[in-house]
């Protein structure tokens, strides 16, 4: 399974580099030195999973004398396939960060945080929670998380046990819009079979920036096989070495491009009529609607010439079903624009017109792992709460399970939401306007954050509960869906550095007991894990040894079109559900909410390969790369900068209706002149995160607190800014 390794080689390597330890960074040198200096180091290999982003790749952790040395991608994990990105390697050094949470903290009356015991924390939180529920009902309590395996089991059960329906995820600022569009057209979000495709269009999504190693290697494979790759993005992103063509689209107009491409397929009769006949409804209505969306019209809207649009649509039709518009993730229509949900619908429907669903080189709905669950007789599950999740009536199309997390601060300001738990979530900097979040969370009677570091959200909380890092704990067993599903385990690679931290399973169990609902938490994590693997015919011992196990009997069936998870069971070109919610049944052009004019710019944002959300910014191993290469700079089109007398690396002020920020500028020809672009990981304000604080700015400071009408997402690109040179 793994590359052959002899212990001797590590000893040799460590002896060669034993002296090569810097004095300039105390964090690293102290642990690296002690990990490497001993030539008789005991080397261990532990298979586990990364927490550097939502992909949670499998990896092999190497330890020397019980301290982390290095990591490799797990060869059997479907997302790493033997390699890891920079975050995969570097984020694990979180273990030895000097700025982790080490014990429970309580905000005192003077606003300062002081350490308290776990017993006190659980008792006070439990008492307060019971009081709030008694007075305002369980609907006044919410729980928000960026889901991870243990949280998926314990946090969801905890909020349900309290009787509250108000469970939310980070997707409000990630891919809720896309999913809303896909769910109501093709009944879910499949994955593009990139490696086998002949013609791939990416809209906003950049495999080279928001990295999942297996996706990037699949794209390299496709290129080697001769696939044509088109990037639609206002920014010539880091996937561009693997692209044949860059379409620098006006930001926020992707919907017009896709509607015009659909127009061409219909006008030239190039779509898969057989597929539409057998598997779709509402196509006639859709046909009528898109008649007006000519390539000439789209050229005016998008800035992409009509002939290019015609050629691409025609070429894709000729190569169908091995042609695909990749499903994207956060960019460009995950949560970005007023029209993002419609873009999601249009993209899903264009793929359906190519008849590529469940076809090689097209869209594949993956197989799921089919994990088991706790025996409900032995461990009774809490009942589904009677009340409707807050926000569901306002945004009935949004994904139900995930909800609209920004409803929490809105309701807090209205005085309706009284308590909130934030687990593995920096909502106050990541989900919506930070000023708004600050005001809102200050209105609440109880805010509890469970995290590994003192985030901006933690600093708005009454209690902060520390978890061990993901390298120091066991998590719940997880299933990974895909072409071949897999079962995976995150497990402890090193002993806890801070013994007074507790993993989420223990925290939620104790919180439940203290809140009077302990009867739903009589099981242990190991009980759950045994139940999870039981139907797979795999033991926990095997899973611990291997870390990631592909399930050869859980493969996606290719070539057979499934029944779609929609009300009609078919692809819905016209949706009654949309009409019932007060929107058009068929996708319709919607212009972006705001437009730049007279020398102002749309502020756009996206991921860098070395960071994830705001959680990695305080990791010296990763932040040093930002500092070495000034990666926190604002991108600006070179000609635009010239007009304003701005030169490369000048300090500029970026101002919007919401905020003003100062940052250095990077001049480039890789950017559409109507936009300026800022990487999305910076602008940390927490004084407890000194490596990150003061580097760059957060785009979210400029995003007004608003909701996309269909999905409730944050519309993070609906921001206009002015940029001016700051005089020295």
């Amino acid at each position: 399974m793994l590359k052959p390794v002899s212990r001797r080689s590590f000893i040799k390597a460590s002896a060669a580099t034993a002296a090569a330890v810097s004095l300039t960074s105390f964090d690293m040198h102290s642990w690296m030195a002690s990990a490497s200096a001993d030539e008789k180091a005991a080397i261990s290999k532990i298979p586990t999973t990364c927490n550097g982003c939502s992909s949670q790749c499998g990896m092999i952790a190497y330890t020397k004398n019980g301290r982390l040395w290095k990591l490799e991608g797990h060869p059997d994990h479907p997302r790493s396939k033997g390699t890891l990105c920079a975050r995969g390697h570097g984020y694990a050094t979180l273990i030895y960060s000097k700025e982790r949470l080490e014990q429970p903290m309580k905000r005192m009356e003077n606003g300062k945080y002081e350490p308290i015991s776990w017993e006190q924390a659980f008792k006070e939180i439990g008492d307060k929670l019971k009081e709030i529920i008694k007075e305002h009902g369980p609907e006044s309590v919410a729980l928000v998380q960026d889901p991870r395996p243990t949280g998926n089991v314990y946090a969801t059960r905890f909020i349900k046990a309290l009787g509250s329906p108000n469970y939310y995820t980070h997707h409000v600022a990630c891919n809720n819009s896309r999913d809303t569009g896909f769910n109501h057209t093709i009944g879910g979000v499949p994955s593009a079979d990139i490696a086998n495709s002949s013609y791939i269009m990416f809209i906003g999504r950049s495999y080279g920036d928001g990295i999942r190693p297996s996706s990037m290697s699949a794209l390299a494979q496709a290129k080697e096989n001769g696939a044509k790759v088109i990037i639609v993005d206002p920014r010539k992103n880091n996937t561009s070495p693997f692209a044949d063509q860059w379409l620098p689209i006006r930001p926020g107009t992707d919907l017009a491009l896709v509607l015009a491409m659909a127009h061409i397929l219909i006008e030239k009769d190039l779509y898969d009529a057989g597929f539409i006949e057998d598997h779709a409804t509402g196509f006639e209505e859709f046909k009528k609607e898109v008649k007006q969306y000519t390539p000439e019209w789209a050229e005016k809207v998008t800035g992409i010439d009509a002939q290019t649009i015609k050629t691409i649509a025609t070429d894709m039709a000729q190569l169908k079903p091995k042609a695909v518009i990749e499903q994207s993730w956060r960019g460009a229509f995950g949560c970005n624009y007023k029209n993002s949900t419609e873009t999601g619908r249009a993209v899903a429907l264009f793929n359906a017109m190519l008849g590529n669903i469940q076809q090689e080189g097209g869209y594949i709905f993956g197989a799921s792992a089919g994990l088991g669950d706790l025996d409900p007789d032995q461990f009774p599950a809490p009942q589904e709460p009677d009340a409707v999740k807050d926000g569901e009536e306002d945004f009935p199309l949004a994904p139900r399970g995930r909800g609209v997390a920004n409803i929490v601060p809105l309701r807090a300001k209205e005085g309706k939401m009284k308590a909130a738990f934030y687990h593995h979530s920096n909502a106050a900097l990541g989900y919506g306007n930070p000023e708004y979040y600050k005001e809102a969370l200050n209105e609440m009677d109880l805010v509890v954050t469970i995290d590994v570091q003192m985030s901006e959200t933690a600093l708005l909380s009454h209690y902060v509960l520390p978890e061990p890092s993901y390298m120091e704990r066991d998590d719940a067993v997880d299933g990974v869906g895909g072409g071949t599903a897999a079962v995976v385990l995150r497990q402890k690679a090193v002993d806890r550095v801070h013994p007074n931290t507790k993993p989420a399973d223990e925290i939620f169990t104790e919180l439940a007991k203290a809140s009077g609902v302990g009867e739903y938490f009589t099981f242990t994590l190991e009980d759950y894990n045994k139940a999870a693997v039981e139907p797979l015919g795999i033991t926990m011992d095997e899973l611990r040894e291997k870390g990631s196990i592909p399930l050869e009997d859980k493969k996606a069936e290719i070539g057979t079109v499934p029944e779609f998870n929609t009300p009609s069971g078919k692809v819905e070109f016209a949706s009654q559900t949309f009409e019932d919610a007060g929107f058009n049944a068929v996708p319709t052009w919607i212009p972006p909410l705001v437009e730049p004019k007279n020398g102002s710019y749309r502020l756009t944002t996206g991921k860098q390969a070395i960071h994830s959300h705001t959680q990695t910014a305080n990791i010296p191993m990763l932040m040093q790369i930002t500092k070495d290469y000034d990666l926190e700079r604002l991108w600006m089109n070179r000609q635009e900068a010239k007009k304003k007398g701005i030169q490369d690396s000048d300090l500029v002020e970026v101002s919007s209706d919401s905020a003003s920020s100062t940052v250095k500028v990077k001049l480039t020809d890789r950017l559409h002149p109507e936009t300026v672009y800022i990487p999305s990981h910076y602008g940390i304000t927490s004084k407890y995160l000194t490596t990150a604080k003061g580097v760059g700015f957060s785009y979210m400071e400029h995003v007004p607190f608003h909701f996309q009408p269909m999905s409730g997402c944050s519309m993070i690109h609906e921001v206009i800014v002015d940029v001016r040179k700051v005089d020295a």
Partner: protein
């Protein structure tokens, strides 16, 4: 002639920095020391622009200037083809750093076994210890786009030629950077543009003066003046004899 080579194909690099971090972890380097540096090249004007990222580390020359100028014989050739530093022998005199035609040898503050702060030459080892055990260098083994590949010398040279033919349409100036002036190198580059675009000299060479220094002057000087005296005066002499290569760094 060593057995192995590494090919860095800049046309496949997406600038993800995974190789840098994997290398730092493998070699126990702190965050602010890296054997790998990056620069980016943007050619053309919006919207007709090409972007290429260049990941750069020690080339492991066949006729390595650093090996020749080292007064301590602390730099040597491994059987794998790597040029390696013995930090036990290194005295941190910086001759290697000042004379590397590619600016790759670096002298940095390190900590010795007694915990003392010392200056030592510190550069890519081509993961010599791993390679001796039949494994792949850390950077190559984590590269998902295969922008970094490692293997038998001849196979890598063939691979480079094959890739050069494949990328010529898109990058007419593409070339293989494997400078003969230093006897060829064990890390070779497929460059998308002329070497000068990456601040590399097309005709990088091992200066005759370095050869004279290593093979004639040093042994003679040590004989006449003693090793210590020779090491002390060597810095001044070598700095005048050889030019320091400079490289800009940067990248997104």
């Amino acid at each position: 002639m060593g057995q192995y080579r590494m090919l860095v194909d800049v046309t496949k690099c997406i600038g993800c920095y995974s190789c840098r971090v994997a290398c730092q972890m493998e070699n126990d380097l702190p965050p602010d020391q890296s054997y790998i540096s990056f620069c980016e090249v943007e050619k053309g004007e919006y919207p007709n622009v090409e972007w290429v990222m260049h990941r750069f580390s020690c080339l492991h020359c066949e006729d390595a200037v650093c090996e020749k100028v080292c007064p301590q014989n602390a730099i040597s050739y491994s059987q794998t083809g790597a040029v390696v530093v013995d930090q036990e022998q290194c005295i941190g005199c910086e001759y290697c750093e000042k004379n590397c035609p590619f600016g790759r040898a670096k002298v940095e503050l390190c900590q010795d076994k007694e915990g003392n702060s010392v200056s030592r030459a510190n550069k890519c080892t081509l993961c010599n210890g791993k390679v001796l055990e039949g494994m792949t260098p850390a950077c190559a083994s984590t590269c998902y786009t295969e922008a970094i590949v490692f293997g038998e010398s001849d196979e890598i040279l063939q691979k480079a030629e094959q890739r050069l033919a494949e990328v010529k349409d898109r990058y007419p100036d593409a070339n293989i950077y494997n400078p003969e002036g230093v006897g060829g190198t064990h890390t070779i580059y497929l460059l998308a543009h002329k070497p000068e675009e990456y601040d590399l000299e097309s005709d990088a060479t091992t200066p005759a003066s370095a050869i004279i220094w290593k093979d004639y002057a040093q042994p003679l000087g040590k004989l006449l003046l003693g090793a210590t005296t020779m090491a002390v005066i060597g810095g001044a002499i070598s700095n005048r004899l050889f030019n320091k290569g400079e490289h800009h760094e940067g990248g997104e």
